[in-house]
């Protein structure tokens, strides 16, 4: 038990390092695309370390406690992520719903902390984040339900193995409509344009992070990196057949994240209610259609 736990902590740390690097590389790529140099690939590490070493202000115990709860919750979530078929801490227990809801502890901690700062703009940011979440999670969940119903398991590693056993028949191909929805939801979850209102740097003055600086911000950055790691890994496992070994995982991971970053560069930003309307119009419909044709008609490519 304790060993698995340590293993899990390792995964979380791995995820942090991995995503921070990948994100840095992506910043470089984006920069190059936009005809700039872009920062160094390890720039994000530098940012975080700098923040962690700075002296910060605190708005009371809930402000600090929320940050701890956020990071703790996310680390706990990351511990369950299966990286490859063998590189995972809790085989069988990596239930999808654990991710879906344990990740919310971290979110809740962050939201609590932000509201605890006493800054109304932070509360507005939280409101935006939660509303966006309400928008993108439902279609995404419907797609996942379809997958779970089809495979009979909700274990993430189990799902990856299922796809591998079926001759690498990835769900991104088998359930194309669902995959589209999942990609859109993933973009929203990662805070990519056009669904990034709640976290976009330009909107930070009324985002959840408005009041942070120093170690609290640094810890939240760590938390965000791990969150993104969780979300992208989930996508890799659910739709891209997981990974037999670490190399494949890295390739898939990098490909997914880079692709999303590149796509998102093209778009402008939605308002919050537009996000909700958007997701409840097409993605939800597509997800439900996908569910119907996959479950009741058996049309799985």
């Amino acid at each position: 038990m304790m060993l698995s736990m340590l293993y899990g902590v390792g995964i979380a740390f791995f995820g942090f390092v991995l995503h921070t690097s990948v994100a840095g590389i992506n910043r470089k790529i984006s920069g190059r695309l936009q005809k700039r140099y872009g920062p160094k690939w390890y720039q994000e590490f530098l940012d975080i370390f700098k923040l962690l070493s700075k002296r910060a202000t605190s708005h009371g115990w809930i402000f600090d406690f929320g940050v701890i709860m956020a990071l703790g919750g996310i680390i706990a979530t990351a511990m369950f992520i299966p990286v490859t078929n063998n590189f995972l801490a809790f085989p069988d227990f990596d239930n999808f719903f654990i991710f879906a809801y344990l990740i919310a502890v971290g979110m809740l901690g962050m939201a609590m902390s932000a509201s605890g700062s006493g800054n109304p703009l932070a509360s507005i940011g939280v409101m935006r984040a939660l509303t966006t979440m309400l928008a993108y999670d439902i279609p995404y969940m419907v797609v996942i339900v379809t997958i779970i119903k089809l495979t009979g398991t909700s274990s993430i590693s189990g799902l990856a193995l299922y796809q591998q056993a079926a001759g690498n028949n990835w769900f991104i191909v088998a359930l194309p409509l669902g995959a589209i929805v999942a990609v859109l939801a993933l973009m929203a979850g990662l805070g990519k344009k056009p669904f990034e209102t709640y976290i976009a740097p330009a909107e930070i003055a009324s985002g959840p992070l408005v009041e942070y600086g120093g170690k609290q911000l640094g810890m939240l950055f760590i938390m965000m990196e791990i969150t993104h790691f969780i979300e992208v890994s989930l996508f890799v496992n659910l739709f891209l057949g997981g990974a037999e070994n670490i190399f494949i995982f890295l390739v898939k991971y990098f490909a997914v994240y880079t692709a999303l970053s590149l796509i998102s560069n093209v778009y402008a930003r939605f308002k919050i209610d537009q996000v909700v309307l958007f997701f409840y119009k097409w993605p939800l419909l597509i997800a439900i259609v996908q569910g119907f044709i996959a479950i009741y008609l058996g049309w799985v490519i």
């Binding site: 736990m5 899990g8 962690l52 910060a56 202000t57 605190s58 708005h59 009371g60 600090d64 940050v67 701890i68 709860m69 990071l71 703790g72 919750g73 680390i75 706990a76 979530t77 369950f80 227990f93 809801y101 344990l102 919310a104 502890v105 809740l108 609590m112 509201s115 700062s117 006493g118 800054n119 109304p120 509360s123 507005i124 939280v126 409101m127 935006r128 939660l130 509303t131 979440m133 309400l134 999670d137 969940m141 419907v142 339900v145 779970i148 398991t153 909700s154 274990s155 189990g158 009041e211 120093g214 810890m219 308002k271 919050i272 209610d273 909700v276 939800l284 569910g291 119907f292 009741y296």
Partner: protein, 608 residues
């Protein structure tokens, strides 16, 4: 050994004792409620779990009892809520116009609970069912609004009369009022009618769509300590009725092959899904914290109904467990809000803010409660929702899954609103200096409930094992349980593991935090305001129209159901007025005219 009837009599007697003592000193009456409800709860729990409840004593005429796991489950759970909430009574009793009556009715309604869940006779059950309705109906107007009691009564009456009709139909089929005999004997078309009636009854009691409009009114306006009882305990009577309808009788309805679900059950599930969605949407836009929680009860009632309607043992187990976890969570949340309401005099979020500064314990209680309510580990709500998800996915109900997830994610939104607007944020100047933490006697039940929320989340198997007994009694296979794990249809859950992982995560985060440089403490007003100088706490607090962007999308469609009932009410009044117009004047000719018409009708009918 303990006899149920004795307990019932003791409860009834202590009710009257409470009234008498309440006349002497109102606080004495309230203390009787604590003693009595604790006594009833602990004896039910102790003797119940040691299987030594019996029905030997028989003093009351007509009233006969049976001990079932199902009844015990409900009774213990509900009396627990009663017992916990009763600690609040001494602190609130001075606000009531009729304090003696409050204490008496409080205990009597609890006595009714014993009667409903342990009797083996439909008539007795209905008697106590009504008894609860009436006692609680008289409790509600002691709070804010008189209208609340009326609308509570209206819907309760619809529920109980539907139940009564069903009872009589079953009696006709079985020849006696025996519950088991009646449920077993009903069949054919009658079974469909009984099913519909029982479902109407369950919907009305649970406040499920479309019979929900009383819920926010009653919960929002009931006395502060009674709202948790209503929402956490009494509403669950509907679940009891739903179990009878959905599990114990099987109407001959068309089975939808693709879903492997009878049409009747599917329709119930659809309405349950609507309740979830509607309750969530309405809860998101409430300003009064109690109304918000009331709508959340509606949404959770939907979960319970949905779980029962799926007809699988994992669904049943999820439904039962959700009853427990929701009762604990909503009880704790309501109590926390009640504490705030007592200390500040209001429960409106737009009038509050920064309560955490003075009431941190209450805040933590609320936090734990909403974590459970939102279904986030490591609280009980997660386990029950997980079980329900298993059942829903197992049946492949896409639309309902969407509803379930909507309710689940939506609950993040609405439970967060009081957290941010009421507890966090800027401290309102009018409460500065006068606001204090709630008295210890009120903290006790809140802390106990929070502890229970945690226990239900970490060691659910204690409860699920008992629920398994209930399920087996209902004729279903039990859910597979390990020492710490629960086996679902598509996965396995180890709540303890999750909790430990969460603990480790928090410890790591805490170590990181503590190792880094200490922060400088600044006040809440010392915040980034984009260069503006905002000096008033009120302007620095975001609480009105919290979810404005999403509220805007549906705000025009929130009152359709109320409008429907309103227009129904108006229709009845109009009908009355039309009749009055046609039949009542101060002139004799009206009567003569109708006499002629009626004579004409008879003779015309006979001649032709």
């Amino acid at each position: 050994m303990a006899s149920i009837e004795l307990l019932l009599i003791i409860a009834l007697a202590s009710g009257f004792l409470a009234y008498l003592l309440g006349r002497v000193n109102r606080v004495y009456g309230a203390i009787v409620t604590i003693v009595s409800s604790m006594f009833v709860f602990s004896s039910l729990a102790y003797f119940g779990f040691t299987d030594s409840l019996d029905t030997t004593v028989s003093i009351l005429p007509y009233v006969t009892f049976q001990v079932t796991y199902l009844g015990m489950f409900f009774a213990v759970m509900i009396t627990f809520i009663y017992a916990m909430v009763s600690f609040f009574n001494p602190m609130f009793i001075k606000d009531y116009k009729y304090p003696g009556a409050y204490s008496m009715l409080y205990i009597l309604s609890m006595a009714g609970v014993i009667g409903v869940f342990f009797t083996d006779n439909f008539m007795v059950m209905f008697f106590f069912f009504e008894f609860i309705v009436w006692t609680s109906m008289f409790l509600i107007p002691l709070g804010h609004s008189r209208k609340a009691a009326v609308s509570y009564y209206a819907f309760s009456a619809v529920g109980s009369f539907a139940l009564l009709f069903a009872i009589f139909m079953m009696r006709e089929a079985a020849g006696s009022f025996g519950i088991n005999a009646g449920l077993a004997a009903i069949s054919g078309t009658n079974a469909i009618v009984v099913f519909i009636l029982l479902i109407v009854s369950a919907f009305a009691k649970l406040g499920a769509f479309p019979l929900h409009t009383w819920l926010p009114i009653a919960h929002g306006n009931a006395p502060h300590p009674f709202s948790p009882v209503l929402s956490g305990a009494l509403v669950k009577l509907g679940a009891f009725v739903a179990v009878m309808a959905l599990i114990k009788i099987t109407p001959n309805s068309y089975v939808i092959v693709a879903l492997d679900l009878p049409l009747a059950q599917y329709l119930v599930a659809i309405f349950a899904g609507l309740s979830i969605v509607f309750g969530t949407l309405m809860a998101i836009r409430q300003d009064d914290a109690k109304k918000l929680l009331a709508y959340s009860s509606m949404s959770h009632g939907g979960y319970i109904l949905l779980a029962f309607s799926l007809g699988s043992s994992i669904g049943l187990s999820g439904g039962f467990y959700h009853i427990v976890t929701h009762a604990l969570a909503t009880g704790a949340a309501f109590l926390a809000i009640a504490a705030v309401g007592r200390q500040t005099g209001t429960t409106k979020m737009s009038e509050l803010g920064g309560v955490i500064q003075k009431m941190p314990v209450t805040y933590v209680v609320y936090l734990i409660a909403i974590i459970s309510m939102a279904g986030i580990p490591p609280m009980g709500g997660f386990i029950s929702k997980w079980l329900i998800f298993q059942a829903v996915i197992d049946k492949g109900l896409i639309l309902l899954a969407a509803a379930v997830f909507f309710g689940s994610i939506g609950s993040f939104l609405y439970v967060f609103r009081p957290l941010a607007a009421l507890f966090l944020g800027q401290e309102k100047p009018q409460f500065k200096g006068i606001l204090k933490e709630a008295p210890v006697i009120m903290l006790i039940p809140m802390i106990v409930l929070s502890g229970m929320n945690l226990v239900t989340g970490i060691f659910p198997n204690i409860f699920l094992q008992f629920i398994n007994k209930v399920i087996v009694e209902l004729g279903m296979a039990p859910v597979v349980l390990g020492t710490y794990t629960i086996q679902g249809t598509n996965g396995i859950l180890d709540p303890l593991q999750i909790t430990i992982a969460f603990g480790i995560g928090v410890v790591i985060a805490f170590i990181i935090f503590i190792l880094l440089k200490k922060s400088k403490q600044v006040g809440l007003m010392d915040t980034y305001t984009a260069g503006n100088f905002i000096y008033s706490e009120e302007l620095m607090h975001y609480s009105v129209d919290f979810y404005a962007p999403i509220e805007r999308l549906y705000e025009k469609h929130t009152t359709h159901v109320q409008d429907m009932y309103k227009s129904l009410e108006n229709k009845v009044k109009e009908f009355g007025n039309v009749v009055k117009y046609f039949f009542f004047t101060n002139k004799p000719e009206i009567t003569v005219f109708w006499i002629l018409i009626i004579i004409g009708a008879l003779l015309w009918g006979d001649l032709l």
